[in-house]
Symmetry: none
Subunit: 247 residues, 2 copies
Amino acid sequence: MPPRSPAEDRAAADSDTAAAGREQTRQRVIEAAIGLLEREGRDAVTTRAVAVAAGVQAPAIYRLFGDKNGLLEAVAEYGFAAFLAAKHVDPDPQDPVEDLKAGWDLAVEFGLANPALYTLMYSEPGNATSAAFTAGMEILMGRIRRLAAGGWLRVDEQLAATLIHATARGAVLTWLSLPEDERNPALLTALRTAMVTAVTNQQPAVRDAGPAGAARALRAALPEQTTLSSAEQHLLREWLDRLAADG
Amino acid sequence: MPPRSPAEDRAAADSDTAAAGREQTRQRVIEAAIGLLEREGRDAVTTRAVAVAAGVQAPAIYRLFGDKNGLLEAVAEYGFAAFLAAKHVDPDPQDPVEDLKAGWDLAVEFGLANPALYTLMYSEPGNATSAAFTAGMEILMGRIRRLAAGGWLRVDEQLAATLIHATARGAVLTWLSLPEDERNPALLTALRTAMVTAVTNQQPAVRDAGPAGAARALRAALPEQTTLSSAEQHLLREWLDRLAADG
DNA sequence: GGTGGCATGTATCGACGATACCGCAAGGCT
DNA sequence: AGCCTTGCGGTATCGTCGATACATGCCACC
């Protein structure tokens, strides 16, 4: 959200109601655009149609969103935020791998539930900055971090995130591109297990959770390593001893 | 391709040259559209711009392709056919799994080499009927059939084809959506092995959870730690990054 | 040498995204 | 209190888009 405009600062007395009204019409325009998008398809979302559907004048859209792309971005963010808000995220999952599956299912479910919105967001490359979008990314990164902390992660955290995105995107777009009578639910489960196999280890690399367990595991697996110089390895071992003893 | 038009039948004498000329201008228009698409982006492909780029009148496009969508479909088919023709397919591969990988690489390579064309073809669901498209599908189905004949296939042939498509689509679109400095080639190889694991019976090489996994775990679990000084933690993190990336 | 049919070329239509311009209502200043 | 500045909402309009009607002219055929 941008900082308060000078006009709002000057008229601080009723800026609340004015800003509230503005936000209200903004929301009405967005919902009208979503309605058109899901009811009549992407091409039906024109500035004029959205304006009459929302009961506002055509230039109001440009004043509210600056651009048609701005409107579409606002629509994408609104839809994604609404979906995220409707779903609750387990803050402390027992099985991080199951949690990963749940997160993947969530992403795919969003795509299948809002096909027009999903293709609008993910069909063409480019935009990646959005409040709701980064919020979803934060949730995903949290899941990945828990996996890593448990020693489950097979690849880099960044690569894991990209792999999850790529499989989910391929799953949703391919599913949507199939005629309804060829949509096999096994596609989704197979892709999900493929994602899990690519991202996680079958057995965690650390036996005990927490830094001490990870330090012990790393200390045990280290001798074969040559990436570090011998001096570095020596110092690293010392620290690992301290970390392992700390648990 | 439709059967010969009555006009062509009637003027059979020079229908060859006439049809050839027509096909020539058709090809010129398609190439002009491809040039605009890859040089100035999707939105630059307007009927007028294509017409002036190809040196034809605006209505000629509608006479040749009937519609702007017709032009775009012709463009997609042309580009895909050109790519298919440039690549030769091993008719009798020795290792069908390696052949599957090669086919997947081919599909992904097409997407990475022709990003605008690829997003045009696969971004939005719908069109699936095209000569070159079905030709590519035939090649893919041949590969899958050889896998099935060798007993390699783990799932339905249809599901295998869909899985291959979905992973390739996710790989290409995700790759293209990343900024150039975040494009990790490991994404493609990881997705390819995930696809092979999902489609074939080939078990992934059981990777020992080496130091990289433990390093990742320790890196993710570290922030709560206070045993080390901040300077030590900083250096440790650096080493853990190197160890984690080494796997 | 007509004659009919079809491709070519010009002009134009409705809709789209986007914006300039005008009136007006609401504080601020003297 | 009255004037004035400031910014918002409403009307009209611009340039471009996809798509098409209409006139023109070319060419084979009789």
